[in-house]
């Protein structure tokens, strides 16, 4: 059973393009479960695959938001070290500065998601550095 089947309607409220990308990532994680479990020294049978699909999708969404914030703020910071007059960049019609609407939206989405994960005691989803650690946590708490 692939990740989409396991996720069921969970991603339906999302824009299709994003939902597809999160499901793709969940598929990768499920496909690689045996290898990850081997490194984590846990049996794959200890991992609930439905849970893992959901958590993998959320983890990918988090990484999108976090990496976008990092790409935006740090690309800008890097460019500013070269030219202190640089305050942002434009890509097509979109202006990216620390206070631009895209930057604010990314920060807000990330903040909301972080709060949500904390409320449900799954912050480890984004604080665990690797999937091996994540799988270890899931297996240990089963």
């Amino acid at each position: 059973m692939d990740a989409s089947s396991r996720l069921g309607s969970f991603l339906e409220p999302l824009p299709p393009a994003l939902a597809e990308q999160l499901a793709d990532y969940a598929d990768y994680v499920l496909d690689s479960l045996d290898a990850i479990c081997e490194r984590a020294h846990v049996s794959p049978s200890l991992v609930d695959l439905n849970d893992l699909a959901v958590l993998a999708a959320l983890r990918r969404l988090w990484s999108y938001l976090e990496s976008q914030r990092w790409l935006l703020t740090n690309s800008l910071a890097g460019l500013k070290t070269l030219d202190s007059e640089v305050s942002g960049f434009t890509v097509g019609d979109t202006v990216f500065t620390p206070s631009s609407r895209p930057a604010m939206e990314i920060a807000d989405l990330e903040s909301q998601l972080r709060d949500l994960l904390a409320r449900h005691n799954i912050e480890f989803l984004v604080t665990k550095a690797s999937l091996t650690e994540l799988i270890s946590t899931l297996a240990a708490d089963r």
């Binding site: 690689s32 999108y64 070269l82 005691n121």
Partner: protein, 265 residues
Amino acid sequence: MSKYVDPGLKSAVRDYFKKNYVQLAAVPRRQTQLLEVAALSLVVEHYRCCGFTIVSRNVRAGRIRVKTGARGYPWNFSHFLCERDNDRREIHSNLSVYSCRDDGGIYCLDVGVVQTGIVPVDKIDEWSAAANDALFTFAEVKKLVVYPMLLAHFVGIVHEVKSEFLKGETPEGFAEDADFDPALLTVSGIHGGSNVILDGFDRRGIRAQVVSYIDVRIREYLRGEFEVSPLLVHGGAQRLPEPAVPNYAGPSADGDEPAVEVVEF
């Protein structure tokens, strides 16, 4: 009942999705835009790491103007001048370059590294593309998994733009300690079926590289978690620690984490 994924979590996440639908719809598109910026920024940082002095040019109203497609003239966009002793380079986003096949074909490279003074900085009457001889190297960025067909696509670009890299050779003036082999930068991992192809490229002496999960790598790079550029210069002196989000292509040589994502071949 699952300990972590209970109906309450699913309901809360779905509410989050619904409440932020418009903002979330922008995430994939913004990823593409930021990747273009990131690729440019990464190449600039790479040359800075290699000892070049960098100067940004054609910055308007304090903003770097990033070219994101084949349309538009280079003098309307920013670029970077890199200088180290007698080595000088210019880094341009979405740079049009003539084919190396003398067929008049023009290819638009996501990031192109060229000789200085080749690309016009002021408006001229007619501009098509940079001369192929002026190109040192380039990077392409994709938000795709590195499937075999993407590798074939990338190698095809190298074949038409700088074919000497496929023979293990480099363009004239190529600095082995600074200029990087043509790079495919992706926001996803390497498909399992691509590894055997990459191994084959390695055996054939093809000079090109794949840098997967570029967003994660840049994040770690800019966090200061490692000091060398994620772009490899030939010779393999710069090997990187694995990123926090691993590649799922299979186990690495040391068996600790999934396969190393930067593949030099």
